[in-house]
Subunit: 227 residues, 4 copies
């Protein structure tokens, strides 16, 4: 029987609105087939502390997350990261990049890097990854935000995926949405991004593309790419 | 009497359309006051060869552009670069960056870098610079294209300017326009960008902001910042 | 009598080591003349909470920082940001970008943006800004980290400065240092960056260049550039 | 019998030196197994004209490259791009990006994009891609150059690969080399990069990693990922 494959979505927004909507759209599109499970994590519901750069996670230790300093939501999130087959990160654009919460989450994945012992070390290697960003200005940092996610993915040696062959993907780097297109709604209005047909469609494209690549990379009978 | 100050605009488009329109809009906004001259150069009318990386421009020589290899339009363009007080570069987005023509133009400014003898060396230092990009997808590389222009500006030690205090500049890095917003027009339709109110307004903002900074940096009675 | 001009340095490192050293070197070089004051802030000594994206700072309110949600170190830091003439930000490279602490600090400057009322609104406009980054791999995100700082500076409409006319600045975008050049020391060894002659020299260059531009922009008798 | 798989290397340097050496090192490391062929193309030996942005390549036509305007080396290069399974692009850093030649090459791959008819349309989709850059300053644009290659790869919907699990890859985005580490040699000295152990090793890492992923993606008996 075919193993279930999991795509994990991480929302880095402090607010319950546009970013969540886009990520839900992507995960919904990803989960169409029977073999893909999806799960959505909202970082605002999982408080995490800043990484202190102590590098103690590079040593063997018996913590859940590999972090000896903080006992917080990363204990659970690390487990989910290790278990997933695909990862979609979604963030509003804050000052041309991901939110502080999302950046802190990235920093706290240090225990999964190349320096750490098995089974944590290189835990994200060869998993499929893609990004979603949404900004209040049309070209207000969406690309730069996706680039910073790609940098994170590359450091974890993941397989980075863009929007695929759609003729008008809006942004090739991932899904880029614009919450301020309708000034009468405003970027502060909850769910303004629902009116952004380009962004919402791109979210679906990204979801499908991650699902396609996750399936392809893992149904290989000669085994998945090793760590 | 106040010296005239010149803002030079460089269009990197191979086509006579959106990029030119945006640059003209920026230069028109820049030239409102009596002390600013503007000039627009279209690279497609000034054929230039690839830089060969020979570094002979780092030596004293009696060529017009500093390049000992090629006698081409860079002889004129180099003179204009040395004489200007502000520079606005405009390019369509080709594969997430400036066009090959624009990149080749950048490469050919090597004779104005820190390594070259006076008066060519550091010739662009402390001049004001800003960028304009226009793409056929909404977030199709406009930011990355502006970033690559900024990199060029920084290497020349210029003063890089964004869009200023406008509440909705569209893109903080410079003017980012979208030529494909109206699919019935299409990104291939000449002048499609005229319908892009965000992009056209941003072009005007950029023009005014460059003019403001050029004026401020040069009306200092204790002299302009030296090279 | 000439007004004193202040250059503020912000260190985003959670550790007491390389980043602080580089920033201290930059500020020391900046403060050589009699008219420049420098001050160094270490974010790890000033705990701040994540921005919640509520946008209430866009309204008039009687808080110190403009943030109605959090009473924390941003009350003091905001005051320092408003008062300074130049800003140097320094961060270790964490996953190809600034640290979570630094990103959170950036996010929390929302009350100084274009949307806020006077005197907070556009408070950083036309101040001089530059960046310092230090990574444990040689090309391990130093450029990307500086780019993300530039994005922040541009959004605040600051005047972004690179390394100036030095023939071998190491990185034109700012000071880029490498803490892992001497593997026997390792990137985790405190003060490893002291051995990085390229990075330490670049920090001094950046300090001098910011001081030069701060002085130039502010000694203009016809007044500084307005907000 | 196992089909031979081809990794194509493209050097964008106008000079016969560092970039070629790095690319040769990568291809040599890639070709270790019996099933991988490698081929190296030096753009300076294949003169190509600027793309004119006419979009005629989006229509069916009987040219070799899909370009109706220029009969030049792209006729051959396009065929090689269509046939390869992996692509490694290598460029010196010129003004913070790829060379004008390399950018022009990128632009001229328009006939292989999503807009073109079969079999040209989406011809690079799901091929494996990675980059190499070499600069005369240590952090002199190597990352930005790799980013611009990634943008190109993403637009073609390729699978972008970084440096893998090596503990000190030097740059996670690809191979980043430094030709000026030994000032007595200088960045202008031919083959200076041979002394750059970090860069040369990264080139080998990239070669092996591309070979690994090309092999994995193509030996799947249920077929390669379709276009």
């Amino acid at each position: 029987m075919q193993e279930q494959l999991t795509i994990l979505g991480i929302s880095g927004s402090p607010r319950r609105a546009n970013t969540d909507l886009l990520l839900a759209e992507a995960l919904s599109a990803a989960g169409g087939s029977g073999i893909i499970n999806t799960e959505m994590i909202k970082l605002r519901e999982h408080p995490i502390e800043y990484c202190l750069g102590c590098f103690q996670c590079n040593e063997v230790n018996d913590t859940l997350s590999g972090c000896k300093i903080h006992r917080d939501a990363m204990d659970i999130l690390t487990e989910k990261l290790i278990a997933c087959h695909g990862l979609i990160m979604a963030s509003p654009v804050y000052f041309g990049g991901v939110t502080g919460q999302m950046k802190t989450f990235m920093d706290r994945t240090e225990p999964l890097l190349r320096y750490a012992p098995e089974p944590r070390g290189c835990a994200l290697r060869n998993k499929v990854a893609a990004g979603i960003s949404v900004g209040g200005n049309r070209n207000g940092g969406q690309e730069a935000t996706l680039q910073s996610m790609h940098h994170f993915f590359m450091i974890h040696d993941m397989v980075v995926i863009g929007t695929g062959p759609d003729p008008q993907p809006g942004c090739y780097l991932g899904a880029a949405a614009f919450s301020g297109e309708h000034p009468q709604l405003g970027s502060q209005v909850k769910n303004a991004v629902e009116k952004d047909t380009i962004g919402m469609r791109a979210a679906r494209i990204i979801g499908r593309r991650v699902a396609e690549m996750v399936t392809h990379l893992n149904r290989n009978p000669s085994g998945t790419l090793g760590r």
